[in-house]
């Protein structure tokens, strides 16, 4: 019974922060989406680097190739909405990984909370902008159908590849029983993924 106020006290601060971030996210302009994503992604990269001083060499042998789908950037002219959807899928999957409580002992909690808040903010922003873009989607859907008929890879494959990629990561953690080395390896891999999408924001800027 005495734990409830403690829980409330513990959750009050992150909830308030979440509320502030949600409010700020909802008021953001979708025209500046690329700027926001670039900034938030870089912040998450910095946070992941600070979560651990150096990679433990003893965990090197447990490393695994998760096969990040870099081919999603190989499309000649990916549509802006496709980029946004890929970003949304990546943020959602990464948030699902970091929201687990099994790594409390591995990293400092404050760093982990900041990563969670950043990812959630990113998700809210992308949801808002994608909803706005759905209103003007009719013409684009016609164009996508034409592209499908011409033989060009369907953009939805990028989201499927991303889901498979994060599924491999999640399965790795479960197999390694969420060990310290497994989390360190996953941290390094997520950093690679975030940096990859950080370069992805350049496409949004050019459009």
């Amino acid at each position: 019974m005495s734990a409830e106020p403690d829980v409330i006290r513990k959750c009050m601060w992150p909830v308030c922060l979440m509320g502030l971030f949600v409010t700020s996210v909802l008021s953001l302009d979708c025209n500046l989406l690329n700027v926001h994503l670039r900034r938030v992604t870089w912040q998450n990269l910095s946070l992941l680097r600070r979560m651990s001083k150096s990679f433990p060499i003893e965990c090197l042998r447990e490393s695994k190739a998760f096969e990040l789908p870099q081919e999603i950037l190989s499309h000649t002219q990916p549509l802006t909405r496709d980029i946004k959807e890929a970003f949304y899928e990546m943020s959602r999957q990464a948030f699902h990984i970091f929201i687990q409580d099994t790594f409390k002992s591995t990293w400092e909690e404050k760093h982990l909370r900041q990563v969670q808040i950043g990812l959630d903010q990113q998700l809210q922003y992308l949801e808002q902008c994608l909803e706005e873009e759905e209103e003007n989607e009719d013409m684009r859907e016609v164009a996508e159908d034409e592209r499908t008929q011409s033989g060009t890879p369907v953009p939805q494959l990028s989201n499927l590849e991303l889901r498979r990629y994060f599924n491999r990561i999640d399965r790795f953690l479960k197999d390694k029983k969420y060990s310290h080395c497994a989390w360190e390896i996953v941290r390094v891999e997520i950093r690679r993924c975030f940096y990859f999408f950080h370069k992805f924001t350049a496409l949004l800027r050019r459009k």
Binding site: R49, F55, P56, I57, E58, L60, V188, R191, R192, Y195
Partner: protein, 520 residues
């Protein structure tokens, strides 16, 4: 903040207990080198080159040479040796062409040897995109000129593969100048690859001031900036700049002088009236007012009367008759200026155009008045019109009246007394109203009598009848040799309203002489 990897050197002796334990527990594995804080690894970008350097913490251990291996995290691969960094004596290795993937996590391993014995082993991990130290500033030189400072920045000819075009935009070159503590940043635009030397010019400098320049790369994302050491030069412009300054000052002074001359000239011309003439014309001549054009204001009517003096030049007739009495009368009396300032005319021989003669006047005239000036109408009037008549006087009066009418005829001209057929000469003269008799005409067509208008003494009377200009006449005389014109048959005169009040001023009372004449 420099990121460093603290790795401990693992000696072979440390492995034995672990191997033993593994044998005991039935587990065998080869424990690779594990990190221990024995040296510090740093990854830097010097002149756009990826340089991995290391430094041992324990300075008592001095290897004779080093060898570098590395692997990556994304794949299960064995350690790879770096060929250019095998058995090297230096404590750094150029990995520009080896580590090219920015998204890769590289795991380097440095082993220090003394002979064939490994003394120390260092392992680290580097995520090139973020774990790379800030770029070392490029080499540069500064040269001071007379009016500017030139900064020559030197880059390496070969760009690292890890820096593609997108990453190159990641960095910016800034040049600072410090002068008396003032720091000014310059952000030169680098066009093309960041591998070519470029020259940046700093101008608009303060003479005789020491300027220092430092260059550095600044990433887009917040990172620590590594600045180059300052290189300073004293900016001393040469004669050209000084002379330019003096020329500038001289030019400014010249401009001021020219402006002063122009302004003074303009003021002088304005004072003279050569320019900017004042328009002191009356308002009636102001045609720029719209109201004037739309609603032209008629000038106030001035009541004037037309006065026309017609000269009738007559030839002097010499009367051969020997009339002693009349011989004198033939002679026209030369106009004599009276004491009152009036010009008199001798009219004795001319009073009657047909029968009127001066004799009449003489008969009627008061002997005392003979000596008076004849064309003095007043005197005449007094002579002829004096009340209290004697018979002869009344007769004279009537005759004199007529004669007087003729008296008023121009003695010098008998040709045409009609003003309508007159010579057209007009005379404007002053009239002493005290010396004239005034009569108001009333539609008298046959009136041959010259009316006299009461007006101020010695006032110029110019009467105009705006309606009838042909036959209208004029008036009155006094003064200075003017002749009395004759009225037309239907003359009408606008009497001046401002009749002088001199009438009342005169001691003489107005005497009605009959027929409308009022004698003063």
């Amino acid at each position: 903040m420099v990121l460093s990897q603290n790795v401990s050197a693992v000696g072979p002796l440390n492995l034995y207990p672990m191997v033993h334990i593994s044998l005991v527990f039935g587990i065998s594995y080869v424990l690779p080198d594990f990190s221990d804080e024995s040296c510090t690894l740093k990854m830097t970008l010097r002149n756009l080159q990826s340089i991995l350097s290391w430094e041992l913490k324990n300075h008592s251990i001095v290897p004779t040479h080093y060898t570098l291996w590395y692997t990556i995290m994304s794949k299960q691969e064995d350690m790879k040796i770096v060929g250019d960094c095998t058995n090297i004596t230096r404590s750094f290795c150029d990995l520009t062409d080896v580590w090219v993937n920015m998204t890769e996590m590289y795991i380097p391993k440095v082993v220090g040897f003394r002979g064939n014995a490994a003394l120390v082993s260092c392992v680290g991990s580097f995520f090139l995109a973020m774990d790379t130290l800030p770029l070392d500033p490029p080499e540069f030189e500064i040269v001071g000129f007379t009016d500017h400072i030139s900064v020559n920045v030197k880059f390496q000819s070969v760009a690292p593969k890890i820096l593609n075009e997108e990453e190159l935009q990641f960095y910016l070159a800034l040049i600072e100048e410090q002068s008396g503590g003032t720091v000014k940043k310059h952000k030169p635009q680098i066009n093309g690859n960041v591998t070519e030397n470029f020259i940046y010019v700093i101008d608009k400098l303060i003479p005789k001031t020491n300027y220092c320049v430092s260059v550095y790369f600044e990433p887009k994302h917040p990172r620590k900036i590594k600045r180059s050491p300052l290189k300073c030069t004293l900016f001393q412009p040469g004669w050209e700049s000084e002379s330019s300054e003096s020329a500038t000052i001289g030019g400014i002074i010249t401009l001021f002088l020219m402006a002063a001359v122009v302004i003074s000239t303009v003021m002088m011309l304005k004072r003279i009236g050569y320019i900017c003439l004042r328009n002191n014309s009356p308002k009636v001549l102001n045609f720029y007012k719209l109201s004037v054009w739309v609603f032209p204001e008629l000038p106030p009517l001035e009541k004037v009367a037309t006065v026309e003096v017609i000269h009738i030049n007559r030839k002097k007739k010499v009367w051969n008759y020997n009339y002693d009495d009349e011989s004198d009368s033939d002679n026209e009396a030369a106009p004599r200026t009276s004491a009152g300032g009036y010009t008199t005319h001798g009219l004795t021989g001319r009073l009657w155009p047909a029968s009127v003669s001066s004799a009449t006047l003489e008969d009627c005239s008061d002997p005392a008045a003979e000596e008076r000036d004849l064309p003095d109408p007043e005197a005449d009037a007094e002579t002829l019109m004096a009340p209290g008549p004697s018979p002869w006087q009344s007769e004279c009066t009537s005759r004199g009246y007529q004669g007087r009418g003729n008296l008023l005829q121009d003695p010098f001209s008998e040709e045409d007394s009609s003003p309508t057929e007159g010579s057209g000469d007009r005379i404007v003269f002053n009239v002493d109203l005290n010396s004239v008799c005034v009569r108001a005409l009333e539609d008298n067509d046959d009136s041959e009598v010259t009316p006299m208008l009461p007006s101020g003494p010695e006032e110029t009377v110019v009467l105009e009848d705006p309606d009838e200009t042909e036959s209208n006449l004029l008036l009155v005389a006094s003064g200075e040799g003017t002749q009395l014109p004759f009225p037309g048959p239907s003359a009408q005169y606008p009497w001046p309203e401002d009749s002088p009040s001199d009438k009342s001023d005169t001691s003489e009372s107005d005497v009605d002489m009959g027929d409308g004449y009022v004698m003063r």
